[in-house]
């Protein structure tokens, strides 16, 4: 059974019990009220009977007309009262019937007494018999009246008993109801403890286990209620978590294996591919040195071309390795003074080619949250590009700065160099993509691929705006500090 059903059952039981008690109290109230009104009636009856006795006495003493008339009135009132007396149960009915009979009998005896001749003191013997008859009637009348009074008191006792019984019944029902409520309440409390609190404690323990990484923890509460349902869902959840975790583990292992392969590949590239190049360059040079005098210009030119090609391929291999190193490098993020990095690169470029007059405009206080080594490589590539592509500009200016767009900080490297057509912009960041002939601007075409990879590793991005003849501006954005 569901906990909610059990709860509803307990509530219903408690409410029904309370209703029963309330009904019982209402019933007892009615009963007591009814019994009280009857007791009032019987009391009235008793009072009437007493009054009847008094007027009877008075008549017997004085033989006046007034008490006689009073007796008649009281008698008829009593008869009405007796007729109006409601009764329930046979015993009461018997008493009422007896009372009715006695009263009627008493009235008849009184009428006889009224009709009886009165002693006149003329005939002694006659007077004597009259007096005896009178005394006989009087005592019968007294007995009858006494018995009627006793009946009235019995009727009063009946009402009192009814009141007592009603009160007793109310007490019993109330007590039983209270016991029932107590039982229901303790049952509910036990239910809550056994079926709700204990499983919740188990669940709490389970969440702690799972949070600590124990994916194999099983809750396994087999009950058929909501908690059982939750337990099954929880176990299903940990099961799927376990599966995903295993999946991630497997993927991680595959990644690690792949990484190792790349590592081995890079090593081979670095080592094995360069060997033959060295031989090509070296032996071409040997030919030139040893047999230069026997070779014509064309042969020497061919040998020089072999050497140049070997060396270019050597550089390509080195740059490819650089690209792969950028991918594999571990990031150490901290604030980097970009202005300082740019200034150092600018100085070294100016030192390498002191004949060039480039105007540098590097904004002060530029800071990014990044891996310093990688950002240095990126800036080196960007500034070298700017330096290279302004080599044919009259008054070359290279600017490094920052601006805010849509509430986000963007840094930029801008030059007024040769620029390019934006139609080729999407090819710009691919490896070995060049937008100019190598004879015009030397390079391997891998620098911007490295730059883009560096910003991707920082979860940032780089994009470019350019116009042929007017220069290019590279914008880059790194994730805000603290959100990496």
């Amino acid at each position: 059974m569901k906990i909610s059903t059990k709860g509803r059952l307990a509530t219903t039981t408690a409410l029904a019990t309370i209703g029963l008690i309330a009904g019982m109290i209402w019933w007892a109230n009615q009963e007591v009220e009814d019994a009280s009104s009857r007791r009032r009636q019987t009391t009235e009856l008793a009072r009437g009977l007493t009054e009847l006795r008094l007027v009877t006495f008075e008549y017997m003493l004085h033989r006046h007309e007034r008490p006689r008339e009073q007796e008649r009135q009281v008698s008829s009132r009593l008869a009405r009262l007796i007729e109006a007396t409601p009764f329930t149960g046979a015993a009461q009915g018997e008493v009422v019937a007896h009372l009715r009979e006695q009263s009627a009998a008493a009235h008849r005896v009184f009428e006889e007494l009224v009709a009886a001749p009165v002693a006149d003191g003329v005939n002694e013997a006659n007077d004597e018999s009259i007096r005896r008859f009178e005394a006989q009637l009087s005592s019968r009348l007294l007995i009858l009246q006494q018995e009627s009074l006793a009946d009235a008191f019995r009727l009063t006792d009946f009402s009192t008993e009814r009141i007592d019984a009603a009160q007793r019944r109310v007490a019993i029902v109330t007590l039983a109801g209270l016991v029932l409520i107590a039982l229901t309440t303790s049952g509910a409390a036990w239910l809550i403890h056994r079926k709700v609190l204990a499983p919740i404690a188990k669940l709490e323990q389970a969440t702690r286990e799972v949070a600590a990484g124990n994916w194999n923890y099983k809750l396994a509460i087999a009950s058929n209620d909501e908690i059982g349902e939750m337990s099954r869902n929880f176990d299903a959840m940990t099961h799927s978590l376990r599966m995903s975790f295993a999946q991630i583990e497997r993927s991680n292992q595959e990644l690690a294996a792949l990484n190792q392969e790349i590592e081995a590949f890079s090593y081979s590239v670095s080592h094995d591919l360069r060997g033959p190049l060295r031989s090509m360059d070296g032996f071409s040079q040997a030919l030139l040195e040893d047999y230069g005098d026997k070779l014509d210009e064309e042969a020497k030119d061919s040998l020089q071309r072999i050497r140049a090609a070997s060396q270019r391929m050597g550089r390509l291999i080195d740059e490819l390795l650089g690209l792969s190193r950028v991918t594999r490098a571990e990031l150490t993020l901290k604030p980097v003074n970009l202005s300082e990095v740019a200034r150092e690169i600018a100085e070294s470029l100016a030192q390498q080619q002191p004949t060039r007059a480039v105007q540098w405009k590097i904004e002060e206080g530029l800071t990014v949250h990044a891996d310093k080594a990688l950002i240095q490589i990126a800036m080196q590539n960007l500034l070298e590009n700017a330096w290279k592509f302004t080599s044919k500009t009259d008054q070359p200016v290279i600017r490094v700065g920052a601006l805010e767009r849509d509430g986000k900080k963007e840094c930029f490297v801008a030059d007024n160099g040769v620029g390019f057509d934006m139609a080729y912009a999407d090819r710009l960041f691919g490896a070995f993509q060049r937008l100019h002939h190598e004879s015009e601007f030397p390079g391997t075409g891998i620098g911007l691929a490295i730059v883009q990879r560096i910003f991707r590793r920082h979860a940032g991005r780089i994009w470019v705006q350019a116009k042929p003849g007017l220069g290019a501006t590279f914008f880059f954005q790194l994730k805000e500090q603290g959100h990496e």
Partner: protein, 150 residues
């Protein structure tokens, strides 16, 4: 140019690189005898007069070892480890001359006690210059430890 009795041991498996290195030495006027070992095991046999080099017992050790890293049988780092582990050779100058500029190789080389780490340039002119500087430094400028030092 230098004391030609000093022997250089070149540990190098590529015949091309051997030829180029020898040529570079020659062009730099380094006239010393250059012994060549073609793998790691042969290099150790040469140094410790074992196996095919058993006849070298009693012959003085080379003055300089030029060591490639990628070698058959036992690689350059293994050779370096063995050299540094033996009392007879632990002070021998060892220069790593290799194609690799992987950071890991540099760190391993130096932490195992290499005296120098030189990368072979593709450009033969640069290569010759590197070999020349090596020769000058290690054969002429550098003071070797005493022969029978502990």
């Amino acid at each position: 140019m230098s004391d030609v009795s000093k022997v250089i041991l070149l540990v190098e498996d590529s015949p091309d690189d051997v030829a180029l290195t020898l040529r570079a030495f020659k062009r730099s006027h380094v006239m010393n005898t250059i012994a060549v070992a073609r793998d790691g095991i042969e290099a150790l046999d040469f140094l410790f007069a074992r196996g095919t080099h058993a006849d070298r017992a009693g012959v003085p050790l080379p003055t300089l070892i030029i060591l490639d890293l990628k070698l058959p049988k036992l690689d350059g780092l293994g050779v370096l480890k063995a050299i540094r582990a033996d009392d007879r050779t632990r002070f021998l100058p060892v220069v790593i001359l290799t194609s690799s500029k992987e950071e890991q190789d540099l760190i391993s080389g130096y932490s195992l006690g290499a005296n120098s780490y030189v990368r072979k340039p593709v450009d033969f002119v640069e290569f010759t210059e590197a070999v020349r500087v090596l020769g000058i430094y290690w054969l002429m400028m550098n003071q070797s430890p005493p022969e029978n030092s502990p």
